[in-house]
């Protein structure tokens, strides 16, 4: 079957290409239903990465947040009509056999750190196409009663789940969360749904955004005079992540864990003296594994979570032409003040 696939070919240029869907006896054929644009997609769309990297990436099919419907599964794991979350991380287990990176097998890490993994819309083409054939371990079924525009936030939630795998919640009663953007909000949701007894304090800049964290204490760093923390999560990213990490260091108790989730293309100048003096541990978090998506598919049955995710849908645009893709990317470029996303649908 032929398929229209969209690729970013140079900054702010998206083009249509014709592709052949590789249907075979080992692949599940999925019709992509709903997609959300990530900040990483925006960076490729705007060309805001190092030019040498961009030259290697283009042409690149964007989108790694998507859900779809199974059309055909020769492996018999799924049925036609099953609603599924698409997993963007693709692992080649053959390469794991002689790999020197043995710690990926630890539960708190996982194969989302695999250096050989291919990640959609970064090191392999993403989901912006109507049909895709993928391995049966690259999709996770979710309850058919859950709307696709809610389930499309699963990839973000899975990253939140993966981040919280780095924390031993048996020892934790309170968490400081730095950031008031969508990633911070998603981590907050995973915290309140999966760890309702943990006290969450959110540090942000934008009062309107902070109002959304209704089950947390919210504050700015400058106005905070309370207790320090032994678990702190950074979801700021960009150039401001440097300030956030230094603020987190200053609010850390001795031996605290700092979970870093925000992407900054520049190096950060951070207070290593305090890190040494307090014996802090900095843990990098990126992406998620299939198991995290399985966790998320169960979480989606939580009424509170679904009600919050529904609020995050700013708009839904059906793709009738390439202009719709430009329009939604441009909306997302300008989307700074609201916790939510403009979605694309087929």
């Amino acid at each position: 079957m032929f398929n229209i696939i969209y690729k970013i070919t140079s900054p702010t240029v998206v083009e249509e290409f014709i592709d052949v869907v590789d249907i075979n006896e080992n692949k599940v054929l999925v019709k992509v239903d709903t997609m959300a644009i990530c900040k990483a997609d925006i960076r490729y769309y705007l060309g805001k990465r190092d030019k040498s990297i961009l030259n290697q990436k283009y042409p690149l099919t964007p989108i790694h947040e998507a859900v779809g419907v199974v059309l055909k599964d020769p492996t018999n794991k799924f049925k036609r009509g099953d609603k599924v979350i698409l997993v963007p991380n693709s692992i080649n287990e053959e390469l794991c056999k002689n790999c020197p990176h043995t710690r990926c097998t630890r539960n708190d890490l996982g194969n989302n750190y695999c250096p050989h993994a291919l990640f959609r819309s970064s090191s392999s083409d993403g989901f912006m196409r109507q049909f895709i054939a993928c391995s049966n371990n690259e999709i996770v079924k979710y309850d058919s009663k859950i709307p696709a525009e809610v389930a499309v936030f699963s990839e973000l939630l899975s990253v939140g789940v993966a981040a919280l795998r780095r924390i031993n919640f048996n020892e934790v009663s309170s968490v400081a969360l730095f950031g008031d953007g969508i990633m911070a909000y998603i981590v907050y949701l995973v915290l309140v749904v999966n760890h309702p007894n943990v006290k969450v304090t959110v540090f942000g800049k934008n009062e309107n955004k902070l109002k959304e964290f209704e089950k947390a204490t919210t504050t700015t760093y400058e106005n905070y005079h309370g207790e320090k923390f032994d678990t702190l999560i950074e979801c700021v990213g960009g150039t401001y992540s440097e300030d956030a990490i230094n603020e987190m260091i200053s609010l850390s108790l001795v031996g605290a864990d700092l979970i870093l989730m925000g992407v900054n293309e520049l190096n950060s100048a951070i207070n290593t003296r305090s890190i040494l003096e307090k014996g802090l541990s900095l843990k990098g978090v990126t992406r998620s594994s299939t198991e995290d998506f399985v966790t998320v598919s169960k979480m989606l049955n939580n009424d509170y979570l679904r009600s919050q995710l529904e609020k995050m849908v700013i708009s839904k645009t059906t793709i009738n032409s390439i202009n719709d893709i430009y329009n939604v990317f441009d909306l997302e470029v300008e989307n700074r003040t609201i916790i939510g996303k403009n979605l694309l649908k087929y």
Partner: protein
């Protein structure tokens, strides 16, 4: 019920030096018509597919349906010496599966780049209006010549469209049109939409796509292959 009638009875006489009709030529490992049928297989609103094909290829088509798991294909019938006969034979097969109010989408097997939107719009349009034709606006100036030597007329381009397929109808309506043509009540024509017009009925337009072009000549096949080659560019 919505049924796709796939016309695959062409002879491929304009495809140059090949012994196979165009719809059976292999593209990326499978016959061109299989790619076309897969587009209908993927559409949730299509309930069944009927194929009208060359009699000598029926056995091959049956094998391909099994090989490529085309589970919606319910009947494969022999076409005829003209498009109109192939459609009529196909409609007779469709009639065994559906009732007069059901929708039939008649599509050329050599238009493999049909989009899901065009299929959806055809179904919705045929349900609403009874008869729809897929078209695209004419982008080139169309020149009419009656003798092939001199221009007879240059019609106003804003009123001109290029016809594509599917052409979609309520089954009872298109069957009646064909039967009236066979009985000589309306003239025989090469196009199903013309049969409906000859009955004095309206046909509404559905927007097609330039990509939904028909593989008719060797150049068309090269165009398709070139589009696919560009599309297969991978992330470095």
């Amino acid at each position: 019920m919505n049924i796709a009638l796939i016309l695959a009875a062409g002879t491929g006489s304009r495809m140059g030096n090949t012994d196979k009709p165009k719809q059976f030529l292999p593209i990326y490992g499978k016959p061109l018509m299989v790619h076309t049928i897969e587009a209908f297989e993927a559409n949730d609103d299509i309930d069944a597919v009927v194929i009208s094909t060359n009699e000598e290829y029926i056995a091959d088509v049956r094998v391909w349906c099994k090989q490529y798991d085309l589970s919606k294909v319910k009947l494969i019938v022999a076409g005829g010496s003209s498009r109109q006969i192939s459609v009529y034979n196909g409609l007779q097969a469709v009639k065994t599966l559906a009732s007069d109010e059901d929708i039939v989408l008649i599509h050329d097997s050599a238009r493999p780049l049909i989009s899901q939107k065009i299929i959806d719009d055809n179904i919705n349009g045929a349900k609403a209006f009874g008869a729809v034709d897929t078209v695209i606006k004419a982008s080139d100036t169309i020149v009419q010549s009656k003798d092939g030597e001199k221009i007879f007329d240059i019609p106003n381009r804003t009123e001109l469209y290029q016809g594509q397929t599917p052409q979609s109808f309520k089954l009872g309506l298109i069957l009646e049109a064909h039967e009236r043509a066979i009985n000589g009540e309306v003239p025989n024509v090469t196009d199903d939409a013309k049969l409906i017009i000859a009955m004095g009925k309206d046909i509404h337009l559905v927007e097609g796509s330039k990509l939904n072009f028909k593989i008719t000549t060797f150049d068309d096949l090269m165009m398709l292959k070139a589009l696919l080659k560009i599309g297969r560019t991978e992330v470095k």
